[in-house]
């Protein structure tokens, strides 16, 4: 199999992950998107490992490490999101803007719309 296929597939997966982070307002979905990005990289690593015929299997080893770290990361992320949910009853990341220039300066203008991609696309994601 040519190396281009897995590389392109993983690039696409990565892009979907990036899109998810940029477009989703639900913190859990953002977390999932980050996972998607990491797994895209994993696919890439394994593919390169095979393609390069790496005697030390550096790519595969790295993949194992990434899986472990990703697990730790998601656990930690969920804990933080849970803590936020307890306090706010919401996991909408767009509502988290007490820390911002407009919030700090007390010259509260009209709330600005987030500059994100596809705001309309995920209206239904609102909890």
């Amino acid at each position: 199999m040519h190396i281009v296929y897995p590389v392109v597939v993983s690039a696409l997966l990565f892009s979907i992950g990036v899109y998810g982070v940029l477009a989703r307002r639900n913190a859990i979905l953002v977390l999932m998107s980050v996972e998607l990005m990491l797994n895209a990289v994993n696919l890439n690593l394994v593919a390169f490992d095979v393609w390069l015929r790496d005697r030390l299997h550096g790519g595969q080893v790295l993949t194992l490490f990434v899986i472990v770290i990703a697990a730790a990361e998601i656990g930690l992320g969920l804990a933080i999101v849970l803590a936020v949910y307890r306090n706010r009853q919401s996991i909408d990341v767009d509502r988290l803007r007490d820390l911002s220039e407009t919030g700090a300066s007390e010259e509260a203008g009209p709330p600005e719309e987030p500059v994100g991609v596809g705001e309309d696309a995920d209206r239904e994601a609102r909890p």
């Binding site: 940029l22 990341v93 767009d94």
Partner: protein
């Protein structure tokens, strides 16, 4: 003879000579930061630090004497500040140690005197803190082994002087005088700083050693320009024409300050600068000539101002100007004059501090009255003050065998040899000195009582009279000690060089006799005018000349016309352009930055997704940039 090489030194008291600076600095820090808690013992701490500094200086002096004369220039490297450009180091050599001894010894005495003089001042602790600060800064000035260190000390003493002149801030005159001293000194400091920049640009070094080496190497060196710029700095600090006007006003400060800063030490910094920069000045006849002319002009101007002042401190201030003029004159002559300049500086430090402190003692007894027309006949009620003051008086007019006789005569003789016109003008100055100093003494201590009704003059306490006694002893013996046998010139020569032929002291030279005769004429004339005759309580109108002198030779008017008016015009012009152009520029720049800040802030929306987007866009740009640069 050329100056000796500087030998790097460590260990011993000389290695620890930084303690001289550190101790009074520590004292100032403790007193300023300690606040009211230190009120109780503040003055004692201040005195202790000054005395400790003197002890270090004396020990260093003793250690220095242990070396052979050619090895008495010891460089003490403290550390590298900026590698390759600025080292922080001290230079302990005969010149700097002479200053250290003078500063710390006279400084200690004045500290002690101030315990009594400032006893009733609520802010005595602050006064001692400033005095300690001054001593530390002055020692930095003379001990530094490079121009940068000298500049730091130079500004430090300027600051201390400013703080002390304006010490009694509640008096508007004091505040104004402090400001005036500060501003006039800025003019001088400007010259000094440009001079130092030029030195660095020329020699790529700021150390005295580097400059001396650079001068020896030769090449195109703007020595005249550097010399004149340094002289401008010296004129500001030493109250020489044309930057003399601040010194008279500076008498608004407490009298110990006038004695220490504006008579004995700080105002002589200009002479130190000229002598220390000897390698530069000796390479340029023009600058040396200008130095001597400035010296002579100031010695005459100061003397004339001294004749007309009724304020005892201002008369003494005029005298200080005049005496420093003598030193400048000698310093401008070159190696032949250096030893006399510094010797006169030292003896002057003693007898002028003695007289200032004596004046302070008089004021202390007379309810802070400074007008000599309200004194008279004080010798009976203040015997110790009178005797010590009289010794100082005899020393300054050059009464045979007292200090001034030897040192001033040395300067006059040297000047006469160098240039007859300068020499005769210096003789004339000595005559005027005889007149105005006699006038001052006669008006104060002799004649009838002209006291105010509520004045009850009394002798000052022992803590104030003992320093007077010690200083007057110095005023008697120091001159003979330094000059006879060329003792001081030989001591100083490793640092500044000396003429091939040592001068010899002739007690009955033409010049010496002429000087004595002229001084005698001055004294007799003063006796006729102020000793035997009645002194009017209000100053008579006097001739044009008197009015001229009373108004400081129109120094202020001259300043006003030459500097202030054009300065104001320039300022107005600058303000105009500033408002229109520069301010507009600055304001619009500020507005631009502020505005862009305001606009840029909007990227910081608080939306985590926007942040993620900015990261993504940044990554995309980075990738793109990499491709662009990679494919170039």
């Amino acid at each position: 003879m050329e100056p000796a090489e500087i030998i790097q030194h460590s260990g011993g008291v000389i290695g620890a000579s930084w303690l001289m600076i550190a101790l009074p600095l520590l004292g100032a820090a403790v007193l300023l930061l300690g606040g009211r808690k230190t009120d109780k013992f503040g003055h004692l701490l201040g005195v202790a630090m000054a005395v400790a500094s003197f002890v270090v200086a004396a020990l260093a002096f003793i250690q220095l004497l242990g070396f052979a004369p050619g090895e008495r220039r010891r460089g003490v490297e403290l550390y590298d500040l900026i590698p390759g450009i600025a080292k922080v180091g001290l230079l302990v050599d005969p010149l700097s140690i002479s200053f250290c001894l003078l500063i710390t010894f006279v400084g200690s005495l004045i500290h002690i005197y101030s315990i009594g003089y400032m006893a009733h001042d609520p802010a005595r602790r602050r006064f001692f803190a400033y005095l300690n600060l001054f001593v530390a800064a002055m020692l930095v000035l003379v001990l530094a082994d490079n121009y940068l260190g000298l500049y730091v000390g130079w500004e430090g003493v300027g600051l201390a002087s400013y703080l002390l002149i304006g010490f009694w801030q509640h008096k508007p005159t004091a505040a104004t005088a402090a400001k005036k001293a500060f501003i006039v000194n800025r003019v001088g400091d400007f010259g000094l700083s440009i001079g130092i920049f030029t030195i660095f640009a020329t020699f790529h070094s700021l150390s005295y050693q580097g400059v001396a080496e650079g001068m020896a190497k030769g090449g195109s060196i703007p020595a005249t320009a550097i010399g004149l710029l340094l002289l401008l700095g010296a004129c500001g600090k030493s109250a020489q024409l044309p930057l003399q006007s601040w010194l008279l006003d500076a008498m608004e400060g407490p009298t110990p300050v006038s004695a220490l800063i504006h008579a004995a030490t700080m105002v002589t910094a200009g002479v130190y600068l000229v002598v220390r920069s000897g390698p530069i000045f000796q390479a340029t006849d023009t600058a040396q000539l200008v130095v001597t002319i400035v010296g002579v002009a100031t010695l005459l101007a100061g003397a004339i101002i001294g004749t007309a002042k009724d304020d005892i401190k201002k008369a003494l201030a005029g005298s200080t100007m005049s005496q420093i003029g003598y030193m400048m004159l000698a310093a401008g002559i070159g190696p032949a004059g250096y030893a006399f300049a510094i010797a006169h500086l030292i003896t002057h430090g003693f007898f002028k501090a003695d007289m200032f402190l004596g004046a302070g003692s008089v004021m202390h007894g007379m309810n802070d009255e400074v007008n000599m027309r309200k004194y008279g006949g004080l010798r009976k009620v203040m015997p110790i003050t009178f005797v010590t003051f009289f010794i100082g008086y005899l020393a300054i007019i050059g009464f045979p065998l007292l200090s001034g006789y030897f040192t001033k005569d040395g300067i006059i003789e040297t000047a006469m040899e160098h240039n007859a016109i300068l020499g005769w003008l210096a003789v004339l100055g000595a005559g005027i000195t005889g007149f105005y100093m006699s006038r001052l003494v006669f008006m104060t201590f002799f004649g009838k009582k002209r006291w105010e009704a509520d004045a009850h003059p009394h002798e000052s306490p022992a803590v104030m009279t003992w320093p007077l006694i010690i200083l007057s002893i110095g005023a008697i013996v120091l001159g003979a000690f330094l000059i006879l046998g060329n003792r001081f010139m030989l001591f100083l020569s490793p640092a500044v060089g000396r003429p091939e032929e040592l001068p010899s002291f002739h007690p009955f030279s033409t010049t010496g006799l002429a000087t004595l005769a002229l001084v005698a004429v001055g004294v007799v004339f003063a006796w006729y005018r102020y000793g035997s005759a009645e002194v009017p309580g209000v100053a008579p109108r006097g001739s044009f000349l008197t009015a001229f002198a009373r108004r400081d030779l129109y120094g202020d008017a001259l300043n006003e016309a030459l500097l202030m008016r054009p300065g104001q015009w320039l300022t107005r012009l600058a303000v105009y352009f500033d408002n229109r152009g520069v301010d507009g520029l600055v304001n619009s720049l500020a507005a631009l930055i502020g505005g862009s800040s305001g606009r840029l802030r909007r990227i910081q929306t608080g939306y985590v997704r926007s942040y993620a987007l900015s990261i993504f866009v940044g990554a995309a740009v980075l990738v793109g940039a990499w491709f662009v640069v990679g494919n170039l």
